[in-house]
């Protein structure tokens, strides 16, 4: 440390700031003793140091906290709520008394908001905003779910209600187009089935007439219905329906005969040829729906997988976000 005319001020400042070592302080004091002219400069700098002042914070007691480390043990939630209610009421009363000029109605309005309500809201971790989000998400889920269910195309909804279902071949003189146009707006699923069966039968008739097949044949009504199902189902469902066809037992209980000139089977996939008897009557089967061994497929519907995944993704994202907010 070199003390001279150019460095003395910096070193004197370090001296009064107590930033010098003991040895350096002794050097400074020796320099001042040797050069009395600098003593006045040192006194002037020392005069800039603030002397300690006793200034006390008046509300020190309010800053202190009661120790909660032991008092919380063994307390149930009701006790905590009651304890906090009492503390809140005490603090509120003290604060209200400390502020002069407040009206009674204003004080009462403050007392209405109890601490227990706040604790209930906090304990559930559910505020009004989160509740709104949850309600909106639920409404969306219901809306999209209902839309998906009702949006299923008619061709995929095949109801095979074959109980006592007899299809008279009364459209033998019409073409399949005419039949289709006459049944353009089916009102029920049963009507749709009847229409589809009629179309199938008409196609078979046309085929038979072309091949001059005038034999009487019996028809397995169950199989014919299955053929209709297969023809009216989209490509991705044909195999399923054919599998269903195989599961249905072929029974010929209570055959019913109907006047008909000729009868079905036009597609190459059909392995059972329709049977028309010698009198030109077609036999249909009445299915016993009470038979426990028989499986009857009432309906079939599909849900768009992409849309369904979109809904589940949104719901899962919402739940995750809700959970992360709660954890925060």
């Amino acid at each position: 440390m070199q003390l001279n005319e150019s460095t003395y001020e910096t070193i004197f400042l370090l001296y009064i700031d107590n930033e010098l070592s003991h040895k350096e302080r002794l050097e400074v004091e020796a320099f001042i003793a040797a050069h009395p002219g600098y003593a006045r400069e040192m006194e002037a700098l020392k005069a800039t140091v603030l002397s300690s002042e006793n200034l006390q914070y008046p509300f020190k007691g309010n800053l202190k906290q009661q120790s909660t480390e032991t008092s919380l043990e063994g307390m149930v939630e009701e006790d905590l709520v009651e304890d906090w209610d009492a503390t809140y009421a005490t603090i509120l009363k003290a604060d209200l008394e400390a502020i002069p000029g407040l009206s009674t109605s204003f004080k009462n309005s403050l007392k209405k908001a109890t601490a227990s309500e706040a604790i209930i809201v906090k304990s559930f971790g559910f505020n009004q905003q989160k509740f709104t989000y949850a309600a909106v998400a639920a409404c969306l889920m219901i809306f999209f779910g209902y839309q998906q269910l009702t949006k299923t195309p008619v061709s995929n909804s095949i109801a095979v209600n074959t109980t006592n279902l007899v299809v008279p071949n009364t459209n033998s003189n019409k073409t399949s187009d005419e039949i289709a146009s006459s049944n353009a707006s089916p009102k029920t699923k049963q009507e749709v089935i009847i229409k589809q069966q009629a179309i199938t039968q008409q196609q078979a008739i046309t085929k038979l007439q072309e091949s001059n097949a005038s034999k009487t044949q019996r028809i397995n009504v169950t199989q014919q219905e299955s053929i209709a199902m297969a023809e009216t189902t989209p490509n991705n469902s044909v195999l399923d329906n054919q599998a269903v066809m195989k599961e249905i037992p072929r029974t010929y209980n209570n055959p019913i005969t109907i006047n008909a000139t000729s009868l079905p089977v036009s597609t190459a996939n059909i392995d059972a040829e329709p049977i028309v008897d010698e009198k030109g009557l077609t036999t249909y089967e009445v299915i016993d729906t009470e038979d426990p061994n028989r499986t009857i497929y009432i309906a079939n519907f599909e849900i768009d997988g992409n849309k369904f995944r979109g809904i589940t993704r949104r719901v899962s994202a919402f739940l995750k976000r809700n959970k992360s907010d709660k954890e925060k």
């Binding site: 800039t48 200034l55 914070y57 509300f59 020190k60």
Partner: protein, 162 residues
């Protein structure tokens, strides 16, 4: 930090923080609010604050809240070199302490805070730098400039007072 250690901090440091703030902003109610906010923050974060760092933590929080308060109220100049008006000194203010406080109050907030932390709390340059987010050399420069200003002001006041 335990609850007991927190209460000890209240006993040991509340007066110092309050003095530091009230000398800076010269407004007792605002200073009390700032001290209360600083201790509230210490209580909330007591699990992360070590007892030996509590004093520095309190002064840091209080200092930053004070800066925010000054910016909001715009009560004090924020320029580095504060202009020092030469006002006549009353006979009652002739005491050196009063003159010094008057000169300190005319320093800019950074210099004033450094002087207060140094003289009242005895913090080193490094500790002041931690509290005020400054380097040691910056603290040293600010403090030395402040001392020179105070010395000049005192020498200017003294002839008037006498």
């Amino acid at each position: 930090m335990t609850d007991k250690a927190y209460n000890e901090c209240v006993d040991n440091f509340a007066d110092g923080v309050y003095r530091f703030i009230v000398k800076n902003i010269r407004h007792t109610e605002d200073a009390q609010d700032i001290v209360q906010s600083a201790f509230e923050k210490l209580w909330v974060n007591r699990a992360q604050v070590l007892p030996e760092k509590a004093k520095s933590y309190l002064f840091t929080v209080a200092y930053h809240q004070m800066i925010d308060h000054i910016r909001k109220s715009n009560k004090m100049p924020l320029s580095d070199e504060a202009s020092i008006p030469h006002q006549p000194v009353n006979q009652a203010q002739t005491e050196l302490k009063e003159l010094l406080m008057r000169a300190v109050n005319e320093l800019n907030p950074i210099q004033k805070s450094i002087v207060l932390l140094k003289d009242y709390e005895g913090y080193s340059y490094r500790e002041i730098g931690e509290i005020m987010n400054l380097s040691d050399s910056q603290v040293k420069v600010y403090l030395h400039r402040a001392r020179i200003i105070l010395k000049n002001k005192l020498s200017a006041y003294a002839p008037t007072a006498s």
